[in-house]
Symmetry: C2
Subunit: 345 residues, 2 copies
């Protein structure tokens, strides 16, 4: 090893992956898409492909067991992986689950975790086909790999958005982030005085969005029913702004996204205001919503319009035009992705 | 959670996996073999299948960076996963690599790790298709998932061994364990006095077996050339005794394994004796050799006999006869699997 020392923070998560993997060359003809999308694509026949994605969750970085029940954690770990397969317009079918645990955890704790995993497997129709169970020196780590299926012609990559395409978000955004703020606030209160009961009243929706997010496989079914093949798609795990920038970068397009069009639930807005936060900023940079963000040709406008699960929030422009957020006063602001960068936390 | 607290050690690694996954039911027709073999099997057509396996390596549990160079660690992490695909008589094609690192590691350290991963990918003809990079509160964790291919008719499960089949081990056994003993001894010496240079002279072979094991994909090619389809197969990761017991349990057979037939390199034996250890015990319980253990019908005797990479070490018997180790004096001892149990460490 050379004597040089470059801190990990300097590159950020995406920069680091790009840096470490830049010299890898694919050698197998079955590898049709590697690093750089929500899932990798492995060709298995002229028409069909398998989709593979993997996620690692680390205690103290991605979750806090003080307010995250193990059952919810197991459920969420599966859901966020299934979400990556949805983001390719595919169907998740199998998962492997590896866990590393310290002896602080009894068997009963892992039973709770696997109870959540099993519930999610049942709801998303996914089979647990393997894994690894090992000890750790401290804390709990979970690594899940999901395997999905798709017709090759149906796969939606990040790279397919075209100028003038409509930008569509599903569900509502920012709720998971505000749920986290409530949980963090009550943690501080509890730590100061364990006698005080946590005040979560009226925050059920946003807390559930944080603790028990759902993968939008229902949207994949709606899209098929509506006859829509998105030109590009990604799941919203790191915040809307970051995901828009991923699509724009991969597709070599620009974007106009409209503040007033961003779907935000009233409970999210109210909580944001209570915390002196701008609701749109929470939606743009909050993350963990696991909604889908996709683009469709303008000719699909009629199919998307009025669908209660989908909001048209902008349109794609020429790459040279840049990526702009148009606020409620009509002012354009160049979009900055802040998102979650776990390596910067 | 109930108030009961059962310690993880009570169940052991294999018992724990079995306990946690017993209530899972497979729902997808493509899932043709789930938990319980070296890799899961996903059907992709009438003739073809994908094989999936995953492994998690935790600093301080599976590796010690004091004597494990990061480049070797990267190489080994890939090799042990490829070994699981070999154990199914398949060919590894893709891997995903997730890592969690603390900020103790600079970018340069991860470059070394990925250098080793890239070398292994190149040697085993495997493509890196995805992964996750995240921070950890302490230490380094690596989680790899490997995807392989096989013709369904070629897949060797643990469960296919028949009474009277020959039991065959590849390469030589116990070397990786003795390499670890040397490295641990020199670590103790170094910790006591950092001025003393480690004395690794003459131990290159066994140290390399510990630090840079190879997956025996060459054996898979030999088997094809020789026209041999093993009736059962497993890779020797936890020690010969443990693997024999896995095959016997899955195949519902007994076994006679002969001490004098177990392939042990002279350097392994000499080092074992230096450490006052019985070389056969090291081969039986040492682990991390990543050789293959398989069974073939007696009719394949001529094909296997005299092959320098393969040793016939015993034969399978009726389940009711039990699993016996026949020592050099001809005495029978019932085999006990000690193996590695990281959860018991």
């Amino acid at each position: 090893m050379s004597d040089q020392r470059t801190e990990l923070e300097k590159l950020g998560e995406f920069g680091l992956i790009e840096h470490l993997t830049k010299d890898f060359v694919n050698q197998n003809p079955s590898t049709s898409c590697g690093i750089g999308d929500d899932a990798a694509v492995i060709s298995i026949s002229d028409e069909d492909a398998k989709l593979i994605s993997t996620d690692m969750l680390i205690e103290g970085v991605h979750f806090n067991l003080m307010y995250m029940p193990l059952k919810h954690l197991g459920y969420k770990a599966v859901a966020v992986n299934v979400s990556d397969i949805c983001a390719m317009n595919g169907t998740a079918e199998q998962i492997t689950v590896s866990i590393a645990v310290s002896n602080r955890f009894p068997v009963e704790a892992l039973e709770e975790l696997y109870d959540g995993i099993r519930t999610a497997c049942s709801i998303y129709n996914v089979d647990l086909i393997g894994g690894d169970t090992t000890s750790s020196l401290s804390g709990l780590s979970i690594s899940i790999t999901v395997i999905g299926s798709a017709k090759k012609k149906d796969i939606a990559y990040r790279s397919g958005a075209k100028e003038n395409d409509l930008l569509v978000a599903t569900g509502d955004l920012g709720a998971a982030y505000m749920g986290l703020q409530i949980l963090e606030r009550e943690k501080v209160v509890y730590n100061a005085n364990p006698e005080i009961q946590p005040d979560l009243d009226g925050h059920d929706y946003i807390i559930e969005r944080q603790l028990k997010p759902e993968a939008r496989h229902d949207i994949i079914l709606f899209l098929k029913e509506l006859g829509i093949k998105p030109t590009s798609m990604i799941d919203i795990s790191d915040g809307l702004a970051s995901e828009i920038m991923h699509i724009c970068k991969s597709s070599k397009v620009g974007c106009h996204v409209y503040d007033e069009k961003i779907p935000i639930d009233a409970k999210t807005s109210m909580t944001a205001i209570e915390f002196n936060l701008d609701p749109s900023t929470c939606a743009l940079n909050g993350g963990e919503d696991y909604e889908l963000l996709f683009t469709v040709p303008q000719s699909d406008f009629e199919k998307v319009k009025g669908n209660p699960h989908m909001s048209i929030i902008g349109h794609m422009t020429n790459e040279a035009d840049g990526i702009y957020f148009i606020d409620k006063s009509g002012s354009s602001l160049e979009l900055q992705a802040q998102g979650w960068s776990h390596l910067n936390d």
